[in-house]
Protein backbone atom coordinates (compact mmCIF):
# COMPACT_ATOMS: atom_id res chain seq x y z
CA UNK A 1 0.00 0.00 0.00
CA UNK A 2 1.20 3.51 -0.80
CA UNK A 3 2.17 5.21 2.45
CA UNK A 4 1.65 8.81 1.42
CA UNK A 5 -2.15 9.29 1.75
CA UNK A 6 -2.14 7.48 5.11
CA UNK A 7 0.62 9.66 6.42
CA UNK A 8 -1.06 12.86 5.24
CA UNK A 9 -4.38 11.94 6.85
CA UNK A 10 -2.66 10.90 10.05
CA UNK A 11 -0.63 14.12 10.06
CA UNK A 12 -3.89 16.11 9.81
CA UNK A 13 -5.23 14.22 12.84
CA UNK A 14 -2.02 14.85 14.78
CA UNK A 15 -2.07 18.53 13.75
CA UNK A 16 -5.64 19.05 14.99
CA UNK A 17 -4.98 17.24 18.26
CA UNK A 18 -1.79 19.24 18.83
CA UNK A 19 -3.73 22.49 18.39
CA UNK A 20 -6.20 21.21 21.01
CA UNK A 21 -3.30 20.30 23.30
CA UNK A 22 -1.83 23.78 22.84
CA UNK A 23 -5.18 25.35 23.72
CA UNK A 24 -5.50 23.13 26.80
CA UNK A 25 -1.92 23.63 27.90
CA UNK A 26 -2.26 26.80 29.96
CA UNK A 27 -5.44 25.65 31.68
CA UNK A 28 -4.25 22.90 33.99
CA UNK A 29 -1.71 23.88 36.58
CA UNK A 30 -3.15 21.95 39.53
CA UNK A 31 -3.23 18.20 40.09
CA UNK A 32 -7.02 18.36 39.86
CA UNK A 33 -6.65 19.98 36.47
CA UNK A 34 -4.01 17.52 35.32
CA UNK A 35 -5.82 14.32 36.41
CA UNK A 36 -9.46 15.32 36.23
CA UNK A 37 -9.70 18.34 33.89
CA UNK A 38 -10.99 20.35 36.90
CA UNK A 39 -14.14 18.11 36.77
CA UNK A 40 -15.52 20.41 34.12
CA UNK A 41 -16.07 17.88 31.33
CA UNK A 42 -19.73 17.74 30.29
CA UNK A 43 -21.66 14.45 30.31
CA UNK A 44 -21.94 14.25 26.52
CA UNK A 45 -18.26 15.08 26.05
CA UNK A 46 -17.31 12.51 28.63
CA UNK A 47 -19.54 9.93 26.95
CA UNK A 48 -17.70 10.44 23.65
CA UNK A 49 -14.38 10.39 25.51
CA UNK A 50 -15.26 7.08 27.23
CA UNK A 51 -16.08 5.65 23.81
CA UNK A 52 -12.75 7.00 22.56
CA UNK A 53 -10.85 5.48 25.46
CA UNK A 54 -12.65 2.17 25.10
CA UNK A 55 -12.74 1.50 21.36
CA UNK A 56 -9.19 0.38 20.80
CA UNK A 57 -7.55 -1.17 17.78
CA UNK A 58 -8.67 -4.51 19.23
CA UNK A 59 -12.26 -3.36 18.77
CA UNK A 60 -11.88 -1.88 15.30
CA UNK A 61 -9.36 -4.06 13.47
CA UNK A 62 -9.57 -7.02 15.85
CA UNK A 63 -13.31 -7.68 16.02
CA UNK A 64 -13.87 -6.83 12.35
CA UNK A 65 -11.31 -9.48 11.51
CA UNK A 66 -12.76 -12.01 13.95
CA UNK A 67 -16.25 -11.52 12.49
CA UNK A 68 -14.85 -11.84 8.97
CA UNK A 69 -13.27 -15.18 9.86
CA UNK A 70 -15.44 -16.63 12.61
CA UNK A 71 -18.74 -14.81 12.07
CA UNK A 72 -21.01 -15.13 15.07
CA UNK A 73 -18.26 -16.27 17.48
CA UNK A 74 -16.21 -13.15 16.69
CA UNK A 75 -19.29 -10.99 17.15
CA UNK A 76 -19.52 -12.27 20.74
CA UNK A 77 -16.63 -9.92 21.60
CA UNK A 78 -18.86 -7.02 20.53
CA UNK A 79 -21.76 -8.32 22.58
CA UNK A 80 -19.60 -8.89 25.67
CA UNK A 81 -17.89 -5.52 25.46
CA UNK A 82 -21.22 -3.67 25.18
CA UNK A 83 -23.10 -5.63 27.85
CA UNK A 84 -20.11 -4.95 30.11
CA UNK A 85 -21.28 -1.36 30.41
CA UNK A 86 -24.35 -2.45 32.34
CA UNK A 87 -22.04 -3.45 35.20
CA UNK A 88 -20.29 -0.08 34.95
CA UNK A 89 -23.62 1.77 34.86
CA UNK A 90 -25.38 -0.13 37.66
CA UNK A 91 -22.58 -0.64 40.16
CA UNK A 92 -19.57 1.54 39.46
CA UNK A 93 -19.99 4.90 37.68
CA UNK A 94 -21.94 6.93 40.25
CA UNK A 95 -20.51 5.62 43.55
CA UNK A 96 -17.02 5.85 42.07
CA UNK A 97 -17.55 9.50 41.13
CA UNK A 98 -18.84 10.33 44.62
CA UNK A 99 -16.27 8.45 46.70
CA UNK A 100 -13.03 8.89 44.75
CA UNK A 101 -10.74 11.74 43.93
CA UNK A 102 -8.47 10.76 41.01
CA UNK A 103 -8.01 6.98 41.05
CA UNK A 104 -9.68 3.63 41.65
CA UNK A 105 -7.50 3.25 44.75
CA UNK A 106 -9.18 6.35 46.22
CA UNK A 107 -12.56 4.63 46.18
CA UNK A 108 -11.24 1.32 47.51
CA UNK A 109 -9.35 2.99 50.36
CA UNK A 110 -12.18 5.41 51.17
CA UNK A 111 -13.01 3.30 54.21
CA UNK A 112 -10.37 0.58 53.89
CA UNK A 113 -7.72 2.98 55.09
CA UNK A 114 -4.31 1.45 55.00
CA UNK A 115 -1.07 1.71 53.17
CA UNK A 116 -1.24 -1.90 52.03
CA UNK A 117 -4.67 -1.54 50.40
CA UNK A 118 -3.68 1.55 48.46
CA UNK A 119 -0.30 0.14 47.45
CA UNK A 120 -1.78 -3.04 46.01
CA UNK A 121 -4.62 -1.16 44.30
CA UNK A 122 -2.00 1.07 42.68
CA UNK A 123 0.16 -1.89 41.63
CA UNK A 124 -2.85 -3.63 40.12
CA UNK A 125 -3.81 -0.42 38.29
CA UNK A 126 -0.27 -0.13 36.95
CA UNK A 127 -0.24 -3.80 35.87
CA UNK A 128 -3.53 -3.56 33.94
CA UNK A 129 -2.59 -0.24 32.36
CA UNK A 130 0.87 -1.38 31.31
CA UNK A 131 -0.36 -4.65 29.75
CA UNK A 132 -3.06 -2.73 27.92
CA UNK A 133 -0.63 -0.06 26.81
CA UNK A 134 1.92 -2.58 25.56
CA UNK A 135 -0.83 -4.43 23.67
CA UNK A 136 -1.87 -1.22 21.93
CA UNK A 137 1.68 -0.19 21.08
CA UNK A 138 2.65 -3.64 19.80
CA UNK A 139 -0.58 -3.46 17.78
CA UNK A 140 0.46 -0.14 16.27
CA UNK A 141 3.78 -1.69 15.23
CA UNK A 142 1.92 -4.64 13.70
CA UNK A 143 -0.45 -2.41 11.75
CA UNK A 144 2.39 -0.33 10.40
CA UNK A 145 4.44 -3.30 9.27
CA UNK A 146 1.39 -4.84 7.60
CA UNK A 147 0.02 -1.70 5.98
CA UNK A 148 3.14 0.35 5.38
CA UNK A 149 6.02 -2.12 5.10
CA UNK A 150 8.49 0.67 4.38
CA UNK A 151 8.37 1.63 8.07
CA UNK A 152 9.53 -0.63 10.89
CA UNK A 153 7.42 -1.44 13.93
CA UNK A 154 10.03 0.31 16.05
CA UNK A 155 9.30 3.61 14.29
CA UNK A 156 5.57 3.16 14.91
CA UNK A 157 6.02 2.36 18.61
CA UNK A 158 8.37 5.30 19.10
CA UNK A 159 6.05 7.71 17.25
CA UNK A 160 3.03 6.60 19.29
CA UNK A 161 5.06 6.84 22.50
CA UNK A 162 6.34 10.35 21.84
CA UNK A 163 2.96 11.73 20.70
CA UNK A 164 1.06 10.28 23.67
CA UNK A 165 3.58 11.92 26.02
CA UNK A 166 3.15 15.28 24.27
CA UNK A 167 -0.65 15.17 24.76
CA UNK A 168 -0.42 14.11 28.39
CA UNK A 169 2.50 16.29 29.49
CA UNK A 170 1.36 19.54 27.94
CA UNK A 171 -2.40 19.17 27.89
CA UNK A 172 -3.14 16.88 30.84
CA UNK A 173 -6.59 15.32 31.12
CA UNK A 174 -8.29 18.15 29.22
CA UNK A 175 -6.25 17.61 26.05
CA UNK A 176 -6.41 13.83 26.45
CA UNK A 177 -10.21 14.08 26.67
CA UNK A 178 -10.43 16.07 23.45
CA UNK A 179 -8.07 13.67 21.68
CA UNK A 180 -10.50 10.90 22.69
CA UNK A 181 -13.53 12.85 21.47
CA UNK A 182 -11.96 13.62 18.07
CA UNK A 183 -10.79 10.04 17.66
CA UNK A 184 -14.17 8.58 18.69
CA UNK A 185 -15.97 10.77 16.12
CA UNK A 186 -13.52 9.75 13.38
CA UNK A 187 -13.74 6.07 14.26
CA UNK A 188 -17.53 6.01 14.52
CA UNK A 189 -17.94 7.92 11.25
CA UNK A 190 -15.53 5.54 9.50
CA UNK A 191 -17.29 2.45 10.85
CA UNK A 192 -20.74 3.70 9.88
CA UNK A 193 -19.52 4.77 6.42
CA UNK A 194 -17.90 1.37 5.79
CA UNK A 195 -21.10 -0.38 6.91
CA UNK A 196 -23.20 1.77 4.54
CA UNK A 197 -20.78 0.97 1.70
CA UNK A 198 -21.16 -2.74 2.48
CA UNK A 199 -24.95 -2.43 2.44
CA UNK A 200 -24.72 -0.40 -0.77
CA UNK A 201 -22.79 -3.25 -2.35
CA UNK A 202 -25.78 -5.49 -1.55
CA UNK A 203 -28.26 -2.88 -2.90
CA UNK A 204 -29.28 -2.01 0.69
CA UNK A 205 -31.05 -5.34 0.96
CA UNK A 206 -30.54 -6.95 4.36
CA UNK A 207 -31.75 -10.38 3.16
CA UNK A 208 -29.29 -10.30 0.24
CA UNK A 209 -26.44 -9.36 2.60
CA UNK A 210 -27.30 -12.08 5.13
CA UNK A 211 -27.76 -14.67 2.38
CA UNK A 212 -24.27 -13.88 1.09
CA UNK A 213 -22.84 -14.10 4.61
CA UNK A 214 -24.59 -17.41 5.25
CA UNK A 215 -23.19 -18.90 2.06
CA UNK A 216 -19.55 -18.23 3.04
CA UNK A 217 -18.08 -21.60 3.95
CA UNK A 218 -14.91 -21.83 5.97
CA UNK A 219 -12.75 -24.56 4.46
CA UNK A 220 -13.67 -28.04 5.65
CA UNK A 221 -16.42 -26.75 7.93
CA UNK A 222 -20.18 -27.27 7.83
CA UNK A 223 -20.84 -24.18 9.95
CA UNK A 224 -21.61 -20.89 8.22
CA UNK A 225 -20.70 -17.42 9.47
CA UNK A 226 -24.09 -16.78 11.03
CA UNK A 227 -23.88 -19.95 13.11
CA UNK A 228 -21.98 -20.38 16.37
CA UNK A 229 -19.02 -22.72 16.73
CA UNK A 230 -16.40 -21.48 14.28
CA UNK A 231 -14.04 -20.14 16.93
CA UNK A 232 -15.24 -21.95 20.04
CA UNK A 233 -15.69 -25.61 19.25
CA UNK A 234 -14.59 -28.96 20.56
CA UNK A 235 -15.13 -30.25 24.09
CA UNK A 236 -13.91 -27.04 25.75
CA UNK A 237 -15.41 -24.61 23.21
CA UNK A 238 -18.36 -23.59 25.36
CA UNK A 239 -16.17 -23.20 28.45
CA UNK A 240 -13.70 -21.04 26.53
CA UNK A 241 -16.53 -18.80 25.39
CA UNK A 242 -18.04 -18.55 28.88
CA UNK A 243 -14.65 -17.76 30.42
CA UNK A 244 -13.92 -15.09 27.82
CA UNK A 245 -17.43 -13.65 28.21
CA UNK A 246 -17.08 -13.31 31.98
CA UNK A 247 -13.68 -11.64 31.65
CA UNK A 248 -14.97 -9.20 29.01
CA UNK A 249 -18.18 -8.34 30.88
CA UNK A 250 -16.54 -7.90 34.30
CA UNK A 251 -13.16 -6.67 33.06
CA UNK A 252 -14.52 -3.41 31.70
CA UNK A 253 -15.69 -2.38 35.18
CA UNK A 254 -12.11 -2.81 36.38
CA UNK A 255 -10.25 -0.99 33.60
CA UNK A 256 -8.55 1.92 35.38
CA UNK A 257 -8.50 4.22 32.34
CA UNK A 258 -12.28 3.90 31.95
CA UNK A 259 -12.87 4.35 35.70
CA UNK A 260 -10.69 7.46 35.72
CA UNK A 261 -12.98 9.17 33.23
CA UNK A 262 -15.72 9.36 35.86
CA UNK A 263 -13.59 11.71 37.95
CA UNK A 264 -13.64 14.32 35.16
CA UNK A 265 -17.36 15.12 35.48
CA UNK A 266 -18.96 17.39 38.10
CA UNK A 267 -21.55 15.02 39.59
CA UNK A 268 -22.84 11.47 39.90
CA UNK A 269 -25.66 12.38 37.55
CA UNK A 270 -23.11 13.49 34.94
CA UNK A 271 -21.26 10.19 35.45
CA UNK A 272 -24.48 8.29 34.76
CA UNK A 273 -25.42 10.34 31.70
CA UNK A 274 -21.91 10.04 30.28
CA UNK A 275 -22.10 6.25 30.69
CA UNK A 276 -25.39 6.36 28.80
CA UNK A 277 -23.81 8.32 25.93
CA UNK A 278 -20.92 5.87 25.86
CA UNK A 279 -23.30 2.90 25.76
CA UNK A 280 -25.20 4.31 22.79
CA UNK A 281 -22.01 5.20 20.86
CA UNK A 282 -20.17 1.99 21.71
CA UNK A 283 -23.32 -0.02 20.89
CA UNK A 284 -23.64 1.57 17.46
CA UNK A 285 -19.97 0.91 16.80
CA UNK A 286 -20.22 -2.73 17.85
CA UNK A 287 -23.26 -3.23 15.60
CA UNK A 288 -21.17 -2.01 12.67
CA UNK A 289 -18.55 -4.70 13.37
CA UNK A 290 -21.08 -7.21 12.02
CA UNK A 291 -21.50 -5.27 8.77
CA UNK A 292 -17.77 -4.62 8.37
CA UNK A 293 -16.76 -8.16 9.32
CA UNK A 294 -19.37 -10.06 7.31
CA UNK A 295 -18.81 -7.54 4.51
CA UNK A 296 -15.10 -8.31 4.45
CA UNK A 297 -15.83 -12.06 4.39
CA UNK A 298 -18.27 -11.79 1.49
CA UNK A 299 -16.84 -8.93 -0.57
CA UNK A 300 -13.09 -9.36 -0.01
CA UNK A 301 -13.16 -13.07 0.75
CA UNK A 302 -11.42 -14.73 3.68
CA UNK A 303 -8.65 -16.23 1.56
CA UNK A 304 -7.56 -12.74 0.55
CA UNK A 305 -7.40 -11.29 4.08
CA UNK A 306 -4.09 -11.39 5.88
CA UNK A 307 -0.43 -11.95 5.36
CA UNK A 308 0.39 -15.37 3.96
CA UNK A 309 2.91 -17.77 5.44
CA UNK A 310 4.67 -20.17 3.10
CA UNK A 311 6.60 -23.45 3.48
CA UNK A 312 8.86 -23.41 6.57
CA UNK A 313 7.07 -20.58 8.30
CA UNK A 314 3.75 -22.31 7.73
CA UNK A 315 5.00 -25.60 9.18
CA UNK A 316 6.34 -23.86 12.30
CA UNK A 317 3.02 -22.09 12.71
CA UNK A 318 1.07 -25.34 12.47
CA UNK A 319 3.37 -26.93 15.03
CA UNK A 320 2.44 -24.20 17.49
CA UNK A 321 -1.29 -24.56 16.91
CA UNK A 322 -1.96 -28.30 17.17
CA UNK A 323 -5.64 -27.77 17.95
CA UNK A 324 -6.12 -26.43 14.43
CA UNK A 325 -3.58 -28.73 12.77
CA UNK A 326 -6.06 -30.54 10.52
CA UNK A 327 -7.59 -27.38 9.04
CA UNK A 328 -4.21 -25.72 8.60
CA UNK A 329 -2.67 -28.83 7.00
CA UNK A 330 -5.41 -29.07 4.40
CA UNK A 331 -5.07 -25.35 3.73
CA UNK A 332 -1.33 -25.76 3.22
CA UNK A 333 -1.65 -28.69 0.82
CA UNK A 334 -4.43 -27.00 -1.16
CA UNK A 335 -3.10 -23.42 -1.37
CA UNK A 336 0.59 -23.75 -0.62
CA UNK A 337 0.26 -21.25 2.24
CA UNK A 338 -1.61 -20.71 5.48
CA UNK A 339 -3.22 -17.54 6.74
CA UNK A 340 -2.69 -17.37 10.50
CA UNK A 341 -5.41 -15.75 12.56
CA UNK A 342 -3.47 -12.68 13.85
CA UNK A 343 -3.57 -11.09 10.42
CA UNK A 344 -7.34 -10.95 10.55
CA UNK A 345 -6.38 -7.41 11.62
CA UNK A 346 -6.30 -6.51 7.93
CA UNK A 347 -10.00 -7.18 7.29
CA UNK A 348 -11.14 -3.57 7.82
CA UNK A 349 -8.48 -1.80 5.70
CA UNK A 350 -8.77 -4.39 2.92
CA UNK A 351 -12.56 -3.98 2.90
CA UNK A 352 -12.14 -0.22 2.67
CA UNK A 353 -9.69 -0.63 -0.20
CA UNK A 354 -12.07 -2.94 -2.05
CA UNK A 355 -15.09 -0.62 -1.63
CA UNK A 356 -13.54 2.86 -1.69
CA UNK A 357 -10.18 2.50 -3.37
CA UNK A 358 -6.71 3.17 -1.98
CA UNK A 359 -7.68 6.55 -0.53
CA UNK A 360 -10.32 5.04 1.76
CA UNK A 361 -7.94 2.24 2.72
CA UNK A 362 -5.36 4.86 3.64
CA UNK A 363 -7.99 6.73 5.64
CA UNK A 364 -8.91 3.57 7.56
CA UNK A 365 -5.26 2.84 8.29
CA UNK A 366 -4.79 6.39 9.58
CA UNK A 367 -7.93 6.11 11.74
CA UNK A 368 -6.65 2.82 13.18
CA UNK A 369 -3.38 4.47 14.10
CA UNK A 370 -5.17 7.50 15.61
CA UNK A 371 -7.32 5.06 17.60
CA UNK A 372 -4.28 3.48 19.17
CA UNK A 373 -2.68 6.85 19.86
CA UNK A 374 -5.74 8.14 21.73
CA UNK A 375 -6.09 4.96 23.81
CA UNK A 376 -2.45 4.99 24.92
CA UNK A 377 -2.71 8.68 25.84
CA UNK A 378 -5.61 7.80 28.16
CA UNK A 379 -3.61 4.90 29.58
CA UNK A 380 -0.54 7.06 30.18
CA UNK A 381 -2.40 9.61 32.28
CA UNK A 382 -4.05 6.76 34.23
CA UNK A 383 -0.74 5.08 34.99
CA UNK A 384 0.77 8.43 35.92
CA UNK A 385 -2.05 9.06 38.40
CA UNK A 386 -1.60 5.63 39.99
CA UNK A 387 2.08 6.29 40.47
CA UNK A 388 2.09 9.99 41.40
CA UNK A 389 -1.18 10.22 43.36
CA UNK A 390 -1.39 6.76 44.97
CA UNK A 391 2.21 5.68 45.42
CA UNK A 392 4.16 8.94 45.68
CA UNK A 393 1.73 11.40 47.20
CA UNK A 394 -0.31 9.07 49.45
CA UNK A 395 2.28 6.48 50.44
CA UNK A 396 5.75 7.97 50.17
CA UNK A 397 4.84 11.50 51.23
CA UNK A 398 1.90 10.56 53.48
CA UNK A 399 -0.45 13.06 51.85
CA UNK A 400 1.95 15.97 52.36
CA UNK A 401 3.61 17.99 49.63
CA UNK A 402 2.44 21.08 47.79
CA UNK A 403 0.87 21.62 44.38
CA UNK A 404 4.21 22.33 42.74
CA UNK A 405 5.58 18.99 43.84
CA UNK A 406 2.42 17.14 42.72
CA UNK A 407 2.57 18.89 39.36
CA UNK A 408 6.18 17.89 38.91
CA UNK A 409 5.78 14.28 40.09
CA UNK A 410 2.66 13.70 37.97
CA UNK A 411 4.45 14.74 34.78
CA UNK A 412 7.61 12.93 35.77
CA UNK A 413 5.57 9.77 36.34
CA UNK A 414 3.99 10.15 32.89
CA UNK A 415 7.44 10.33 31.28
CA UNK A 416 8.65 7.32 33.29
CA UNK A 417 5.57 5.24 32.48
CA UNK A 418 5.77 6.24 28.83
CA UNK A 419 9.44 5.28 28.66
CA UNK A 420 8.82 1.92 30.36
CA UNK A 421 5.92 1.23 28.00
CA UNK A 422 8.01 2.06 24.92
CA UNK A 423 10.91 -0.15 26.05
CA UNK A 424 8.62 -3.06 27.00
CA UNK A 425 6.66 -2.72 23.76
CA UNK A 426 9.83 -2.92 21.70
CA UNK A 427 10.96 -5.93 23.75
CA UNK A 428 7.59 -7.71 23.56
CA UNK A 429 6.72 -6.83 19.97
CA UNK A 430 6.80 -10.49 18.96
CA UNK A 431 3.93 -11.31 21.32
CA UNK A 432 0.38 -11.82 20.23
CA UNK A 433 -1.70 -8.67 20.75
CA UNK A 434 -4.80 -10.61 21.80
CA UNK A 435 -2.68 -12.35 24.45
CA UNK A 436 -1.64 -9.01 25.95
CA UNK A 437 -5.17 -7.56 25.85
CA UNK A 438 -6.39 -10.81 27.43
CA UNK A 439 -3.90 -10.30 30.24
CA UNK A 440 -5.17 -6.78 30.86
CA UNK A 441 -8.84 -7.78 30.92
CA UNK A 442 -8.24 -10.89 33.02
CA UNK A 443 -6.22 -8.98 35.61
CA UNK A 444 -8.78 -6.15 35.67
CA UNK A 445 -11.68 -8.56 36.12
CA UNK A 446 -9.97 -10.78 38.70
CA UNK A 447 -8.00 -8.28 40.79
CA UNK A 448 -9.88 -4.99 40.59
CA UNK A 449 -13.55 -5.85 40.17
CA UNK A 450 -14.16 -8.15 43.19
CA UNK A 451 -12.50 -5.71 45.58
CA UNK A 452 -14.11 -2.62 44.04
CA UNK A 453 -17.59 -4.18 44.16
CA UNK A 454 -17.20 -5.48 47.72
CA UNK A 455 -15.69 -2.21 48.96
CA UNK A 456 -18.80 -0.43 47.73
CA UNK A 457 -21.40 -2.95 48.85
CA UNK A 458 -20.30 -5.27 51.67
CA UNK A 459 -20.40 -3.76 55.14
CA UNK A 460 -18.07 -6.31 56.74
CA UNK A 461 -15.45 -6.13 53.99
CA UNK A 462 -12.07 -5.57 55.64
CA UNK A 463 -8.62 -4.32 54.74
CA UNK A 464 -7.25 -7.86 54.88
CA UNK A 465 -10.08 -8.89 52.55
CA UNK A 466 -9.20 -6.17 50.05
CA UNK A 467 -5.52 -7.07 50.07
CA UNK A 468 -6.23 -10.81 49.80
CA UNK A 469 -8.80 -10.25 47.06
CA UNK A 470 -6.56 -8.09 44.87
CA UNK A 471 -3.48 -10.26 45.41
CA UNK A 472 -5.25 -13.57 44.76
CA UNK A 473 -6.96 -12.16 41.66
CA UNK A 474 -3.73 -10.68 40.33
CA UNK A 475 -1.58 -13.75 40.98
CA UNK A 476 -4.15 -16.33 39.86
CA UNK A 477 -4.96 -14.54 36.60
CA UNK A 478 -1.29 -14.05 35.72
CA UNK A 479 -0.41 -17.64 36.69
CA UNK A 480 -3.32 -19.18 34.77
CA UNK A 481 -2.45 -17.19 31.65
CA UNK A 482 1.15 -18.38 31.95
CA UNK A 483 -0.17 -21.97 32.10
CA UNK A 484 -2.79 -21.51 29.35
CA UNK A 485 -2.64 -22.70 25.72
CA UNK A 486 -1.94 -19.10 24.63
CA UNK A 487 1.38 -19.13 26.49
CA UNK A 488 2.24 -22.84 26.51
CA UNK A 489 0.65 -24.13 23.31
CA UNK A 490 -0.18 -27.81 23.30
CA UNK A 491 1.56 -28.50 26.62
CA UNK A 492 -0.80 -26.19 28.47
CA UNK A 493 -1.54 -27.15 32.06
CA UNK A 494 -4.63 -24.95 32.27
CA UNK A 495 -6.97 -25.81 29.38
CA UNK A 496 -8.79 -22.50 28.80
CA UNK A 497 -7.44 -19.53 26.79
CA UNK A 498 -8.91 -17.01 29.19
CA UNK A 499 -8.50 -17.51 32.95
CA UNK A 500 -11.61 -15.49 33.92
CA UNK A 501 -13.84 -18.44 34.74
CA UNK A 502 -11.42 -19.55 37.47
CA UNK A 503 -9.46 -16.44 38.45
CA UNK A 504 -12.48 -14.15 38.98
CA UNK A 505 -14.05 -16.55 41.54
CA UNK A 506 -10.58 -16.85 43.14
CA UNK A 507 -10.47 -13.06 43.43
CA UNK A 508 -13.88 -13.03 45.14
CA UNK A 509 -12.96 -16.02 47.34
CA UNK A 510 -9.72 -14.34 48.43
CA UNK A 511 -11.60 -11.17 49.33
CA UNK A 512 -14.27 -13.02 51.30
CA UNK A 513 -11.81 -15.34 53.04
CA UNK A 514 -9.51 -12.47 54.02
CA UNK A 515 -12.49 -10.61 55.48
CA UNK A 516 -13.72 -13.59 57.49
CA UNK A 517 -10.24 -14.37 58.85
CA UNK A 518 -9.23 -10.81 59.73
CA UNK A 519 -12.28 -8.61 60.40
CA UNK A 520 -11.84 -4.90 60.66
CA UNK A 521 -14.37 -3.02 62.85
CA UNK A 522 -13.05 0.46 62.00
CA UNK A 523 -13.66 -0.07 58.27
CA UNK A 524 -17.05 -1.55 59.06
CA UNK A 525 -17.97 1.55 61.04
CA UNK A 526 -17.33 3.76 58.03
CA UNK A 527 -19.63 1.82 55.73
CA UNK A 528 -22.63 4.05 56.44
CA UNK A 529 -20.61 7.14 55.61
CA UNK A 530 -19.48 5.52 52.35
CA UNK A 531 -23.04 4.61 51.41
CA UNK A 532 -24.45 8.05 52.15
CA UNK A 533 -21.69 9.71 50.19
CA UNK A 534 -21.94 7.26 47.28
CA UNK A 535 -25.70 7.70 47.02
CA UNK A 536 -26.09 11.43 47.66
CA UNK A 537 -22.74 12.97 46.79
CA UNK A 538 -22.55 14.65 50.22
CA UNK A 539 -18.92 15.52 50.79
CA UNK A 540 -17.86 14.29 47.34
CA UNK A 541 -14.77 15.82 45.74
CA UNK A 542 -15.60 18.81 43.63
Amino acid sequence: MNAQPSLVIFAVFVGITLVVTYAAAGQSTTSRGFYAADRRIGPMQNGWAIAGDYLSAASFLGITGLVAFYGFDGFMYSVGWLVAYLAVLFFIAEPLRNTGKFTMADTISFRLRGRGVRAIAAVSTLAVTLFYMIAQMVGSGLIVTLLLPQFSDFVAIAAVGVLMLVYVLFGGMLATTWVQIIKASLLLATAVALSLLVMGYFHFSLPEFLQAAASVRVSGNETNLLQPGLLYHGPLGAWNLISLGIALVLGTAGLPHILMRFFTVPSARAARVSTAWAMVLVGIFYLTTSFMGLGAATIVGQEHIGKRLYAGEAITYIAHHPERKQALDSQLTRNGFVVPAPNTNLAAPLLAGRLGGPLLAAFVAAVAFATILAVVAGLTITASSAFAHDIWFSLVRNGKGNEREQFFVARGAAVAVGAVAIVLSVALRGYNVAFLVGLAFAVAASANVPTLLLALSWRRFSRAGAIAGMLSGLVSSLALIALSPIAMGSHAIFPLDNPGLVSIPIGFAGAILGTLLVPDPSSEAMFDELQVRAATGLGAEV
Binding site: L82, Q211, T536
Partner: protein, 54 residues
Protein backbone atom coordinates in the same frame (compact mmCIF):
# COMPACT_ATOMS: atom_id res chain seq x y z
CA UNK B 1 -28.80 -22.13 18.16
CA UNK B 2 -27.52 -22.80 14.64
CA UNK B 3 -31.04 -22.95 13.21
CA UNK B 4 -31.91 -20.16 10.76
CA UNK B 5 -35.02 -18.43 12.05
CA UNK B 6 -35.27 -15.04 10.29
CA UNK B 7 -34.30 -15.76 6.69
CA UNK B 8 -30.69 -16.92 6.96
CA UNK B 9 -30.28 -15.25 10.37
CA UNK B 10 -29.65 -17.88 13.03
CA UNK B 11 -31.20 -18.09 16.47
CA UNK B 12 -27.77 -17.39 17.96
CA UNK B 13 -27.35 -14.17 15.97
CA UNK B 14 -30.87 -13.04 16.92
CA UNK B 15 -29.95 -13.78 20.53
CA UNK B 16 -26.77 -11.69 20.22
CA UNK B 17 -28.65 -8.77 18.64
CA UNK B 18 -31.31 -9.09 21.33
CA UNK B 19 -28.59 -8.40 23.90
CA UNK B 20 -27.95 -5.03 22.24
CA UNK B 21 -31.67 -4.25 22.55
CA UNK B 22 -31.71 -5.56 26.13
CA UNK B 23 -28.72 -3.39 27.08
CA UNK B 24 -30.32 -0.27 25.65
CA UNK B 25 -33.70 -1.00 27.27
CA UNK B 26 -32.07 -1.54 30.68
CA UNK B 27 -30.14 1.69 30.14
CA UNK B 28 -33.35 3.59 29.40
CA UNK B 29 -35.10 2.11 32.46
CA UNK B 30 -32.12 3.00 34.67
CA UNK B 31 -31.97 6.56 33.37
CA UNK B 32 -35.71 6.94 33.91
CA UNK B 33 -35.51 5.59 37.47
CA UNK B 34 -32.41 7.69 38.10
CA UNK B 35 -34.33 10.95 37.77
CA UNK B 36 -36.37 10.21 40.89
CA UNK B 37 -33.19 9.16 42.64
CA UNK B 38 -31.47 12.46 41.73
CA UNK B 39 -34.37 14.43 43.22
CA UNK B 40 -34.19 12.43 46.45
CA UNK B 41 -30.42 12.89 46.68
CA UNK B 42 -30.74 16.63 46.06
CA UNK B 43 -33.41 16.85 48.79
CA UNK B 44 -31.13 15.04 51.26
CA UNK B 45 -28.19 17.27 50.32
CA UNK B 46 -30.27 20.42 50.84
CA UNK B 47 -31.56 19.12 54.15
CA UNK B 48 -28.11 18.16 55.42
CA UNK B 49 -26.31 21.32 54.38
CA UNK B 50 -29.04 23.47 56.02
CA UNK B 51 -28.63 21.60 59.30
CA UNK B 52 -24.88 22.06 59.23
CA UNK B 53 -25.25 25.79 58.68
CA UNK B 54 -27.55 26.29 61.68
Amino acid sequence: MSRAVLGPLTLAYCFALAQFVMTWILLAVYLWRGRAFDLAAARIRRHETREVKQ
